[in-house]
């Protein structure tokens, strides 16, 4: 048994066919078909990853010609003791927690309502989904217009509904409101994602289960908590996983909306990383930062997937 996956693939192919088929052997075809993709993934995913790890031990600066020196773990030490890093981690945690909270709440509620199968629910579902498919940078940029204190639609609607004067607050300019301004736009964009997954979960529950519960005279409330929620939970957890990963690496939307400001209140880790790498050109330092972020997401996601699998097995 050779170690390389393609040989293993070819070996796993039923021999009955291989002997009967004319032309290229299955083994050759497996090589030909999988080869280009593996080469491309190695070149653009794996090789850069290894290079990043290598760079992270150096003091390389991409805008200087001077040769880099190996400084080993100094970058890592500096990052982990830097207060700016922890502030951006905190900003990311705030963003992650509240976007997921609102998206799960609203997304599940919408899915639950759509599952009542009212007339035209398909059309309205498609309309709700639209924001999610659009370019976050372009849409995020336009939201800065909606958030303008005097002329923006958002502030006007708030004034219309609550009576708070439109020009008295600036969602993007104020330290207190800016973290919420990005939460609102992200929730607007990505609630449909959670909704779609929940809807798939709700639709996967067979009617017969509810019929059985009805025979047992379980109240609707009880059915909801003991049937609907546990059956949808794996789907909901999957949605949270996807949103968690996506929002952990969030860049385009927030950079266009607030640019990390005011001050550094909405500087999420990827915005911080971009500044280190492409504005201050501390390539080695930024590489170490990137490795730390990757290990964090990968670690958290692995633990989460284990939990998800446990829920699925139940």
């Amino acid at each position: 048994m050779s170690g390389n996956p393609i040989d293993r693939v070819a070996e796993a192919t039923p021999p009955t066919f291989a002997s009967r088929v004319r032309g290229l052997s299955d083994r050759t075809i497996a090589w030909l078909f999988v080869g280009p993709s593996i080469v491309l993934l190695l070149a653009v995913n794996i090789f850069p990853l290894i290079w990043t790890i290598n760079l992270s031990f150096t003091n390389f600066k991409a805008n200087r010609l001077r040769d880099a020196e190996y400084i080993w773990f100094q970058n890592y030490q500096r990052i982990l003791t830097d207060t700016g890093t922890w502030e951006s981690m905190q900003a990311t945690a705030h963003f992650l927690f509240w976007t997921i909270f609102f998206q799960v709440l609203i997304g599940f509620a919408l899915a639950y309502l759509i599952n009542k199968k009212f007339k035209g629910n398909d059309m309205w579902t498609t309309i709700i989904v639209l924001p999610m498919m659009l370019s976050p940078a372009v849409v995020g940029n336009f939201w800065t217009f909606l958030y303008q204190p005097q002329i923006g639609l958002f502030n006007y609607v708030v004034e219309f509904l609550t009576g708070i004067e439109a020009s008295s607050f600036s969602m993007i300019g104020s330290v207190n409101l800016a973290p919420w301004s990005i939460v609102i736009v992200d929730t607007w964009m990505w609630t449909p994602f959670v909704m779609l997954i929940c809807l798939a979960g709700l639709r996967s529950i067979p009617d017969s289960i509810y019929e059985a519960a009805e025979c047992d005279r379980a109240s609707k409330w009880r059915q909801f908590w003991t049937l609907t929620i546990p059956m949808v939970l794996p789907f909901l957890m999957l949605a949270v996983l996807f949103r968690g990963i996506e929002n952990f690496k969030m860049f385009d939307l927030v950079v266009q909306l607030t640019g990390g400001g005011p001050g550094s209140i909405t500087t999420l880790t990827s915005i911080d990383l971009k500044r280190e790498a492409f504005e201050k050109w501390r390539t080695g330092y930024a590489s170490a930062y990137a490795v730390i972020l990757f290990v964090t997401v990968f670690g958290l996601a692995s633990i989460y997937v284990k939990a998800l699998n446990k829920v699925k097995e139940r």
Partner: protein, 313 residues
């Protein structure tokens, strides 16, 4: 519908659910409608207080999007020839003359070239790999999903650092080829996984029959499997296209001029004293409408696409 069903929601419940969902849909649609509407406003109407819902439509935003203009004084204006085209006239009405095209058209073309180019390659290589993974039993299915997920876990900025250095070495920075390669690789994981799902659903018997009829494995692939997988390939292609179309982080870091796509460009459209909102909105409208249409076409496969095939419905 026959007889009584305990699981069928009552009429009142349906009404209630319908009203709530439609209300949400209206609210969520408002920013999008506002983009489209702002594109047709005059600059004065766009920044009026209170925001104008009813306004006199104007194409000034679109003219400003595609042209650069120079301001002319009234005395100079008298010496000019009368405006020849409708867009000349619009520019003249605001006291300017058109002096040339902007870069929007070129940036949009870049988006089209890079979007379609990368989609073609990620579908081409993706279909081949997906077929091999689907038919030549792969023992590492679960690991593969996690591996594919993990390539997408890296923040794009983190990947961009070595890619930037690599492209600089190879002279690929700010080129169409570089961006096509990069987006192809990023999309490949999605396309392999989605297409594998679609090909898995094609019964093996079709191919077996073809093989017994004397087709080679390769002929069986492109004469039997490919036509069967056409819908799946088409919807996967649209997903890849939408990703490349919307992508911003790589584009803003790796392109600056000749290969810059529209997403980094649109936010930089400025007029007198800040962003020229009708022009920005016009640019955004032209850029977003194709995706909206594709989304409507895709609605049946939407879930599969956005979850890497993890949820199939």
């Amino acid at each position: 519908m026959s007889g009584f069903s305990v699981t069928e929601p009552s009429k009142r419940q349906k009404w209630f659910a319908g009203i709530l969902v439609i209300t949400y849909a209206m609210v969520t649609l408002m920013p999008l409608l506002w983009i489209i509407a702002t594109g047709f406003k005059s600059p004065e109407d766009a920044i009026s207080y209170p925001p104008k819902v009813i306004f006199e439509p104007s194409l000034e935003g679109y003219v400003n999007l595609f042209t650069t203009r120079t301001r002319v004084t009234t005395s100079m204006e008298e010496t000019l020839l009368p405006p020849e085209t409708w867009y000349d006239e619009i520019a003249r009405d605001s006291g300017t003359v058109i002096s040339g095209p902007t870069r929007y058209g070129q940036r949009f073309t870049n988006s089209v070239i890079i979007g379609f180019g990368s989609t073609f390659f990620s579908i081409f290589f993706g279909t081949l790999a997906a077929y091999a993974f689907s038919r030549f039993r792969v023992p590492i299915k679960e690991d593969l999903l996690f591996f594919i997920l993990s390539t997408r876990m890296m923040p794009p900025i983190a990947v961009a650092i070595p890619i930037f250095l690599m492209f600089r070495q190879l002279g690929l920075n700010d080129t169409h080829l570089g961006m096509i390669l990069l987006y192809t690789a990023v999309n490949l994981s999605l396309s392999v996984w989605l297409l594998k799902g679609f090909i898995d659903e094609i019964p093996l018997e079709y191919e077996e029959a073809a093989l017994i009829d004397g087709y080679t494995r390769f002929q069986a692939f492109y004469k039997v499997v490919l036509p069967q997988a056409a819908t799946g390939i088409a919807s996967t292609a649209i997903f890849c296209l939408i990703f490349a179309w919307n992508e911003y982080a790589f584009a803003v870091l790796l392109t600056s001029g000749s290969a810059q796509t529209a997403p980094p460009f649109i936010p930089t459209i400025i007029g007198v004293g800040g962003q020229d909102w009708p022009a920005v909105a016009a640019g955004a409208t032209i850029f977003l409408i194709p995706v909206m249409i594709f989304t409507i076409l895709l609605r049946k496969h939407l879930l599969r696409g956005i979850t890497f095939g993890a949820v199939r419905k």
